[in-house]
Symmetry: C2
Amino acid sequence: MSDTGSLDALIQALRRLPGVGVKSAQRMAFHLLQHDRGGAEQLSQALARACEQVRHCERCHTFTEGAVCDACLDPARDATRLCVVETPADQSAMERTAAFRGLYFVLMGRLSPLDGVGPRDIGVQKLLERACDGVVQEVILATSFTAEGEATAHAIAEALKRRGIHVTRLARGVPVGSELEYVDLGTIAHALADRR
Amino acid sequence: MSDTGSLDALIQALRRLPGVGVKSAQRMAFHLLQHDRGGAEQLSQALARACEQVRHCERCHTFTEGAVCDACLDPARDATRLCVVETPADQSAMERTAAFRGLYFVLMGRLSPLDGVGPRDIGVQKLLERACDGVVQEVILATSFTAEGEATAHAIAEALKRRGIHVTRLARGVPVGSELEYVDLGTIAHALADRR
Ligand SMILES: [Zn+2]
Ligand SMILES: [Zn+2]
């Protein structure tokens, strides 16, 4: 339909969202134009504004609108502990525990040789400089407990240890609230080995 | 994080898309800002442009950028047959069969009393006027074969028949390529009753 160029363009643009195929993109475009034009305009403006405003913190690499993020600027935080996470979402999860009052470094990814994501793409050099500022005494690796997250943690740990930095890793173990019967065997084995 | 207002606003705006929860919205925002700012800007512009340009065809109610859509303006089409579908996506599916050369009326929805969608919301009055233009000889109901689609077809058929319009419905039957063993019993029963 040649008279629906801007509708077709919208469907194509929606397909660039992760996890959105052609059917979902059609359904989204239809919903917005038929039932929620206010939502479409809001999303258009939010996208433009975020592209304009959001950049990376100079110290921890997370998303921020200033040069340095609020967490890095907070004098109440313990600057001797640096927690390394993969994404801002992981950082939020850690914050919600209220169990950590140190600072963060956000990799914005993880090593993934198959996808061509190497140490440079996740800012490892920047992390090394950050961790060697003379204030940081412990780097806590909180990357995912997946193959890629473990490989990332391992590579960073090796590099930091060569520079004499004390490195720790989140404990592996049985999730709180789990019945042992339903926990996978690898997790149980780790929980046994790391018993305390 | 108070320094990420425009990121939070983007996540909220993405949640207005159908089928997108808070986790998906976070993942989409993260992906766009980290890996595809070009895509974010493209989507922003496509949304704004579609909101500005896309409206409903005066004759068939589908999405178009002119007053009347290309299909309704096409003199090669058979104006004596009018096919009633629920959405532009259904209309596209019908077009791809290349088996129909008549005109369309797009309801942009279906009757759904539980969701408060009544005859007025799907333009039934407009359809009745359209079908009684003196040219249309047959109205083919191609709404979904779901409870709501069937109720919609039934309500429209009754109204059209009262006005003396000849109404037909797409045949129900066994899908092409199906093995009978795997077809649901209701479909087989209908295929038997409608055998030819
Ligand atoms: Zn920071
Ligand atoms: Zn039309």
